[in-house]
Amino acid sequence: MQDLQLSAPAPVSEDAPDAVRATHPSGSSPAPSAPLPPGPPPQPANPTSNDHRPNYQLEYILSGHAMSISSLKFSPNGSMLASAAADKLVKIWDASTGDIMRTFEGHTEGVSDIAWSSDGDCLASASDDKTVRIWSLDAGGTVRVLKGHTNFVFCVNYNPRGNLLVSGGFDETVRVWDVARGKALKVLPAHSDPVTAVSFNHDGTLIVSCAMDGLIRIWDADSGQCLKTLVDDDNPMCSSVIFSPNSKFVLCSTQDSTIRLWNYQTSRCVKTYTGHTNRTYCLPASFSKTGGQYVVSGSEDAKVYIWDLQSRQVLQVLEGHRDVVMAVAIHPTRNCIASASMEKDLTIRIWCDEAADASR
């Protein structure tokens, strides 16, 4: 995490290496009627789009990382949660109990991003040591080191088949890797500023990337050709981008405290989500479909925001973290959200909406 590296190492507050079962702290979980932050979307709620409001409650607080946590990802089957941090470590947690299962050591600099392979057997991590490492859960360690980036690697993702990896970084390139042989297949001179996010679509034929140059680019995965460039009028720095589940839209968060849903075929922004604060860090935005259809993002005001996908209204704000919420992960099947925060806090919190789980 480039931004993190610049600041002094955080003081490690009370060493609490293992998960702590939260005793449902009354103060930390916001009432559903938490006052909405100042911000535009005061539209009339669309009654059909959401028949229940999310009611996420804090379930666990996990601590173990010694420096800012940069990325969280649930494993494809939802049994594990992986976290990466500026302390050079990748940790695996049991998603249902909150116990720490494993700590992977090997990177020589902070880790900015992690990604699970689709079978959940492997994990890839992107680091400021200019490498991508592939970790095997079976082998319990590094199985590959992908070298080639000439500067910090900032983002990494697998394709759905798990035979390719895509990574981007401060050398402004996007690289496509052959996982089996550990070789770079393509080096795309993708952007003119650090690449902040890159990922495949659901069938692996497209790659989307975004960068601090404010551009979102869509690439043909096979040929490596650029197919489309999306740019907002104001050209704000892009923090993260992902395809929608059906790959017809891309969700991009930018450092003007806005998240936009783009129809990339027509190059039009079809939804705008605001209310949170994002001016400095690369905060990823995610889709959640386990309860209603939500968009979820961390925020620099130490909260997690949940919007209704269609009405763009803030439905719930999760409060409790004490620093910027840098990483957010959505459980693939249960109605859970994991969030993690920077150095003044250093905890991972797991929030669940059990009512929604039960009603399904």
Binding site: P40, T142, N163, R217, V231, N246
Partner: protein, 445 residues
Amino acid sequence: MNASLLNPFNITYPTAVQTSLPSQASLARFDPSGRFVAAGRSDGSAAIWDLETHAAVRWLEGHVKGITSVDWSQNSRFVLTSSKDWNVIVWDLAADFDPPQRSSTIRFDAPVSSASFHPRNSQIILVLLSTGDAYLVDLRKHHRGRVELEEVQEESDEEGQMASPRSAMTTARFDPTGKHIFVGTSVGSILVFNTRTKTMVGRHKVSGAGLMKGFDFAKSGRRLVTNSSDRVLRQFNLPTYPPPNADREYIELELEPTHRFSDPINRNAWHAMSFSPDGEWLAGGAADPATHKIYIWDISNDGQFASALDGGREPLIHVHWHPRKPAIASTTNQGNILIWHCPAPERWGAFAGGFEEVDENVEYEEREDEFDIEDESELAIRKMKQEEEEVDIDTTEDLDASALGDHLRVNGDNEEDYAWADEEPDDDIRGWKMKTVMEDEPDML
């Protein structure tokens, strides 16, 4: 998924070699998804190549003599190899390791010249031996058996006279529905068998064809192209075959080709031919001893010759069209597999946001209100209104589901044949994934 963003004006046959896979292959076939190529080698091994990484991902070592054919099950989980060593092996690629598991071995008493899976069930296998006999092998528990396909002989008038010796079977294929088996013979006839009953339901004489060397079907199953020893490829429209009846009646019909394709200059014979997925193009691999040439004909345009692809100096021995894309795999006699594609020109306009490339200069007409200064708050309200529209982030148009199998059911087919083939389905479920096996990397750690 990327198709909608790619240039829609692509011509629909490949024009250039994208990559060459050095695999010492004698033949190469795409899998039904088009992500892999199975390459059979003359030393008896076979390899599965991943076209995304252009690397061999599985080695199938089980035969001791040359591979004569390879085939894929419908969802690419099982691969079949037939060999001159008298065996047919079925491989299961879902195994977590390399080499993959052998799921069955079928032994014969003669070299196997080709074998293929039933399109609906990989446990039903059609096998042709070099002795000129064809067998249908059923590996299912309740149908287990091996049945020889027998041509019905014309009844001779004189009693006691020996029936004329049976003509040898020289090529055998399932049609795309799997309902019928088409067998070509050494005397230029096409025999049609019902797969379920193994009885002959049709016989076509093709005059002047000579020995039948190979068949290929358009995906619809209504058109057949034959390769024969007279160096002509013929395309036929197939009649509808009646369901087999108790009297074992069959259609005896001389077929007239709708098109004939040949090389008028060099009189080259053909090693293989392959339809494009939409059936509108036909690729013929010329048996030219000095060059690597693929002829492309435009079927939708009355079979006109469209192009001859030149693949260099290594002569061609096999050709197969990609199941979905304008791409071809052609094998050279040096064992290299050339993957042909249709290169899309780089569109530099794609690198700029909101930029459109035009081929010619156009006079730009500005809209009436294009440079009007609008009230910002009004603009914001209008944008808000536009954003009210619901978006669908979940549904995909799954092309695969409709493209496979079911559209073939038209034409008044009786369901019985499908029901029979679907009994005891194989484990070839859609959506299985081949595990990525990490190659050992000794210089690491």
